[in-house]
Symmetry: C2
Subunit: 450 residues, 2 copies
Amino acid sequence: MSNTKILLDESELPTHWYNVIADLPTPPAPYLGADGQPVSPEQLGAIFPPGLLEQEISTQRWIEIPEKVRSILRLWRPSPLYRARRLEAILGTPAKIYYKYEGGSPAGSHKPNSAVAQAYYNKIAGIKRLTTETGAGQWGSAISLAGNMFGLEVRVYMVKVSYEQKPFRRSMIQTWGGEVLPSPTTLTAAGRQALENDPNCQGSLGIAISEAVEEAASRQDTNYTLGSVLNHVLLHQTVIGLETRKQLEKVGDYPDVIFAPCGGGSNVGGMMFPFLADKAAGKEIRLVAVEPSSCPTLTRGEYAYDYGDSVGLTPLIQMYTLGHDFMPPGIHAGGLRYHGDSALVSQLYHEGVLEAIAVPQLATFESGVMFSKAEGIVPAPESNHAIHAAIDEALRCKERSEGKTILFTLSGHGHFDMASYDRYFSGELTDQAYPEEALQAALRNLPQVK
Amino acid sequence: MSNTKILLDESELPTHWYNVIADLPTPPAPYLGADGQPVSPEQLGAIFPPGLLEQEISTQRWIEIPEKVRSILRLWRPSPLYRARRLEAILGTPAKIYYKYEGGSPAGSHKPNSAVAQAYYNKIAGIKRLTTETGAGQWGSAISLAGNMFGLEVRVYMVKVSYEQKPFRRSMIQTWGGEVLPSPTTLTAAGRQALENDPNCQGSLGIAISEAVEEAASRQDTNYTLGSVLNHVLLHQTVIGLETRKQLEKVGDYPDVIFAPCGGGSNVGGMMFPFLADKAAGKEIRLVAVEPSSCPTLTRGEYAYDYGDSVGLTPLIQMYTLGHDFMPPGIHAGGLRYHGDSALVSQLYHEGVLEAIAVPQLATFESGVMFSKAEGIVPAPESNHAIHAAIDEALRCKERSEGKTILFTLSGHGHFDMASYDRYFSGELTDQAYPEEALQAALRNLPQVK
């Protein structure tokens, strides 16, 4: 019988996260303060607990996952790896297509993998409240779920355009006891500034980050959490790639190419980092980040020091960036609307280890609908980016009669994104014009590092 | 290590459905025509394919599941059985609580288990189009998914109040290529009649059934499908109970009591029938259907012959009924708003094999929120009925220090029902007044069987 799903038993849940920093040829560039000096742990300690700060800079290859974290991850992990046999048949490709499905978590995406860990380390540090920002609402719901499990209060600054387009992720945040506010708000200086500049401001991840960081920095009992970008977030997400390796071993397979959607980089890092050692050892494997062409951070941005938020409250991070005040068009893959990218993903892309491609919005929906008709699952718009790249690759394999093994992360389901599908079906959805002018202006405004 | 999920491998997917008719002490009463005579297979053949009609009356204990059906079921089955350890801890109960989670299917509920089988038997009978009705949209999305997988066109008559309250299940039906119309429509005589009686009619499952049946009966290439009530639907759902038995065996456990939400009976039949033989053999096990107190078919209805739809197009079925023209209040558990109940569930309840309880709406949401905070998954309002009963039982066990084993079906997730949760949180949700007068009127209007 031919397998559809490759499952792991709970006893096979990874016991350690994989820390890619241990295996980097060059150490990561430090985060810098506005003065151009490396930021001290004490400064970051205003918004992060010690456990996460240690992970942020650790060079230890394997970091043990606390049992209290694993016991919650077991509510949905290990997650299934699927062989997309029906999609393969419809495409008529000789390629094998696998997808790792992260939509089975209670929040419907991969985000809780890190949210649970972050809530745990804040809890043991005596923190009572967490703040965060959210775009599509995936991270906001994940941290609300995780905060609730450890008895922490959660306040979510949700990008206004998403708050209005995706009311039901709000409701989900509330079901788990979290508070959710449309950003920009008048509660923070950053929010007030954004509203002064543009009273109709629809918000952005950058502004929402500024708000959440500002509040966390100003309160002793409150810390900030982030759903992507930072090293410790990508570390927590490596359970995805670690499980996938085991699952492929069970069926005696190995990927020729891996695709993951790329916004802040947590999908890319989570899935791909555990395969890097093989690549370093000479294994032929392509690792491809897929980003939206209207927010093409890796493919069109600069590799430079920039702020993680739009106002300049965070440290400077060396990363690919479109400029911290670049405001991406309101595409439906809200989780990919971020001006920057993970420092680790950026460095590996810069060093030529990872590849990146940018794909237009309409094509991603087309591929997502094709996928859902073939495999059943209706994917999140973010995930459609990886699906689109995988289908393209499978069709190239068909042209060339190549039996490659293609792997991608299906990072979340689209049950909270049906309004976006409605717009696609009604023909209202368009490919956003490439924001060349705004991008050039934002790039001219990159901070000067002394 | 203590298990959270009990998984089965794909190779353990049931190969046969369990047909409870083989083990009933008394044979089921026949379906009758308006003339009081048993309906012939030829008459039903106008809207059902031969494969399903055979199953409807078969007395064979085990019926093989076709490989083409199993290959699609493997996209989400076997489904996980969870031990609700976090809920147990929060309740402080000595009871063990297990739940079988059916929300992992692409449509988010148990409904596709039968939809796939129904689409298959229609396909091999040469049928090109399927009609159906849907309440909350769970069945409509399931049959759209299944029809698409077998290349069949699907038209869904969706109860108007749900069509408006749950726009995103509509979108999902459309994503899989199905057509969805708010019922009553002007396309059918039944719909036109309902609109004549009340131009603002919000629809009901009964009216929508009438519309779907009327269309199927009038077209050679079109058949009707139903998501519950009929014997073959409950047959297909027995994969739930069959898997659960195996999963409990793996951990050496057995339920003292099983709860399932009860609308048309497919959850009850699917989970409970595979445990009936044990009960007949003297095993002490309670099997409890949980229905809404505003639509209390088993607990307040009459055991009589009645129509399955509101107009009287279907055969007469001996079942518990509130009267075919009883219009239940617009509760949020739309899937439980049905005047009748499965003939098999009704007979077993009448014979005292199954029990039933009715629970009020507010209490079910309260329990659903408690559950989601404990276990993560946000349940569908229908599922909250079983959850409420299970929590009540666990609290009774606590009072009496009884270490019972409680099992329930978590039939679907609530990602399409967040507007209902919003109403609950805002205090707008109420317990519907018990519709005594309407019920008495409907019961007086039961058909007279000659």
